[in-house]
């Protein structure tokens, strides 16, 4: 195959932009799976739910999808708190979180998907915004704004989460609860409350990720399933609960997927994440920056 230099550079740049976006999708999983040890496989379902809300409000009120998603933050946060409360009372407290908790989240994922199909149908939906369409050209490198805007938004979001977790009291408590719940309890903090806040945060982040997703590509209800492999691959590769690791892994996966799509065809891209996941699990289960 004739690999031209321009094509290669463009693929890498596209991968970088894609990776930034993946980081935003994975941030929520890094909190819930990586720190709280809650295997929330329904996370992509909430991302798609966010996409559809952004779509619905964008089409009917003409609001910018990112603005919509920021307004949706409290709603998704409340939803996350509610789900955690149900999860805690039915599974964590009874000590059966492994098997039934997984089935619970799987059921949630499935219900979200089918409900979206019933309401919106299986057609691809997309949003309208001024930055969808034009691109910036830097030399021979194309920077489509459709990718650049979500990437920048994702990185800002990611940075905000990282700051929140490392600098604020609540954020540090979340880190603490992931390390030793009992120790936190001895410091007179309520680990359940901290976990609820963290889980609410992870679902709230899904709303923003959803809005970014529908800017990048048209969305239909089953798109979420492709992201399950991706987000968990990134989370595991980065090292559970490590935010910088997540960012590095997200960008790595974005670049490799973009290269695969460019040189072997887009239909192979979903397999890349799984390859990453299996290789990581087989050779370095702790991930790149794992503890």
């Amino acid at each position: 195959m004739d690999i031209s230099f321009d094509l290669l550079i463009n693929a890498i740049v596209a991968g970088l932009l894609l990776g930034g976006f993946y980081a935003a999708v994975t941030a929520g999983i890094s909190i819930s799976f990586g720190m709280l040890d809650i295997v929330n496989i329904a996370h992509p379902g909430f991302v798609i739910l966010g996409s559809y809300l952004a779509y619905y409000i964008n089409i009917h009120l003409g609001m910018d999808p990112i603005v919509v998603s920021i307004m949706m933050l409290p709603v998704f946060y409340a939803l996350g708190c509610l789900i955690y409360q149900v999860y805690h009372l039915s599974f964590e407290k009874r000590g059966q979180d492994a098997l039934r908790g997984l089935a619970f989240f799987f059921g949630l994922l499935f219900v979200t998907e089918v409900a979206l199909i019933l309401v919106f149908g299986v057609d691809y939906r997309y949003v309208e915004a001024s930055y969808i369409g034009p691109s910036i050209h830097v030399g021979f490198v194309d920077l489509p704004l459709r990718m650049l805007v979500p990437c920048v938004a994702a990185l800002i979001l990611f940075g905000a989460i990282e700051l929140f977790i490392t600098r604020t009291f609540t954020g540090r408590a979340i880190m603490a609860v992931s390390q030793d719940q009992l120790a936190l309890q001895l410091q007179a903090a309520d680990p359940i409350k901290i976990k609820r806040i963290a889980f609410g945060l992870s679902i709230a982040v899904a709303a923003v990720a959803g809005a970014l997703l529908i800017i990048i590509q048209p969305v239909e209800p089953s798109v979420g399933r492709e992201y399950i492999g991706r987000v968990f691959a990134i989370c595991v590769l980065g090292g559970l609960g490590s935010m910088p690791g997540t960012l590095i892994a997200a960008i790595l996966l974005g670049i490799v997927e973009s290269l695969t799509a460019t040189f072997y065809g887009p239909s192979w891209a979903p397999a890349v994440a799984f390859g990453f996941l299996l290789l990581t699990l087989a050779f370095r289960p702790a991930g790149l920056l794992g503890r």
Partner: protein, 320 residues
């Protein structure tokens, strides 16, 4: 429960199977065969899932992948060298069992949730492979023309009846296997893994080997369930073979029926399978999937031990 040994149980099951076959033959309606084939297929899938999920406590979200592996190995063999369906079932079992073993080897040494995630991703990747593999039809799908009748010498029955009998036999084999495991040393080993893997390991239970046996066995049964599928459906598409419907049903059925014994998946599959056949005809297939999902969520929250658990609890209360 009265003590019935495995040989007697097998005889009873086979007798029930023969009776069902005769009744179905007497009625002789094609739709009945099509509908009950689906329910029997779900009994096999649910029982297979339960061997790993219910007995060992490891969740497999990739039932659809193992099912599709069986179906697609049939398509492959059909194109290369056509074999009778019972042999295709063996091939399907081997392929899915081996993939299960490989997956298990890579992921089961780690924490339980990694296995669950990997199975979920496996479905996506296998689908990608099949979509890109033109020999077995690629994204366009593959046709397998189902013969009208099965003829062996002067013996002649409708092909759908033949498939129905095969699936019935598979369901019976799966149930007997599950019950035998439950009562054997293997089953007790599985139960120790489910209850406390670390303690089991410390007591000298070869946990990895047991888990691999469970994964391979469970995968093999799912492959068996999938192998006759192309003949049943006539036109196999990646979307229909990898349908999330199989994954969610094979989890929901044991969860709703009860995961601790072989009765649970059977009850769950018959109830849910029949209800879905009814709902698909009368309402719509999307609504019936929504109902399955909601029931799964409701049951894991409210009745963690399923219908069998509810009945057992009631019996226990009556006794005391």
């Amino acid at each position: 429960m009265t003590r019935v040994n495995t040989a007697t149980f097998s005889l009873i099951m086979v007798a029930i199977g023969v009776v069902i076959t005769l009744i179905a033959h007497a009625i002789g309606v094609d739709y009945l065969y099509f509908a009950s084939y689906t329910i029997l297929q779900f009994i096999v899938l649910a029982t297979a899932w339960n061997i790993l999920g219910g007995y060992c406590g490891y969740v497999n979200f990739g039932s659809a992948a193992f099912f599709a592996l069986g179906a697609y190995s049939s398509v492959f063999v059909h194109k290369v060298f056509p074999l009778p369906v019972p042999l295709l079932i063996v091939v399907g079992a081997l392929v899915s069992g081996l993939v299960g073993l490989g997956m298990g080897y890579l992921t089961l040494r780690l924490r339980g949730s990694f296995f669950a995630i990997a199975t979920l991703a496996l479905a996506v990747v296998l689908q990608t492979l099949v979509v890109n593999w033109d020999f077995v039809g690629g994204s366009r799908g593959a046709y397998i023309i189902r013969p009208e009748f099965l003829e062996i010498g002067s013996f002649k029955i409708p092909y759908i009846e033949y498939l129905f009998i095969l699936m019935l036999a598979l369901a019976i084999i799966a149930l007997i296997t599950a019950r035998t495991i439950e009562r054997s040393q293997l089953g007790f080993g599985f139960a120790t893994i489910r209850d406390d893997e670390l303690a089991a390991e410390a007591c000298g239970v070869p946990t990895l080997r047991l888990k691999l046996i469970a994964t391979a066995l469970s995968g093999a049964f799912m492959g068996m369930a999938g192998a006759p599928f192309p003949y049943y459906i006539g036109y196999l598409q990646p979307q229909s073979a990898f349908s999330l419907e199989y994954a969610v049903n094979s989890i929901a059925m044991p969860m709703i029926g009860g995961t601790t014994s072989w009765v649970g998946p059977l009850v769950g599959a018959v109830l849910l399978g029949t209800a879905q056949q009814y709902a698909t005809v009368t309402i719509s297939s999307a609504v019936n999937l929504l109902i399955v999902g909601l029931m799964l969520v409701a049951f894991v929250i409210i009745a963690p031990n399923g219908l069998v658990g509810l009945v057992q609890e009631r019996l226990r209360r009556k006794r005391s």
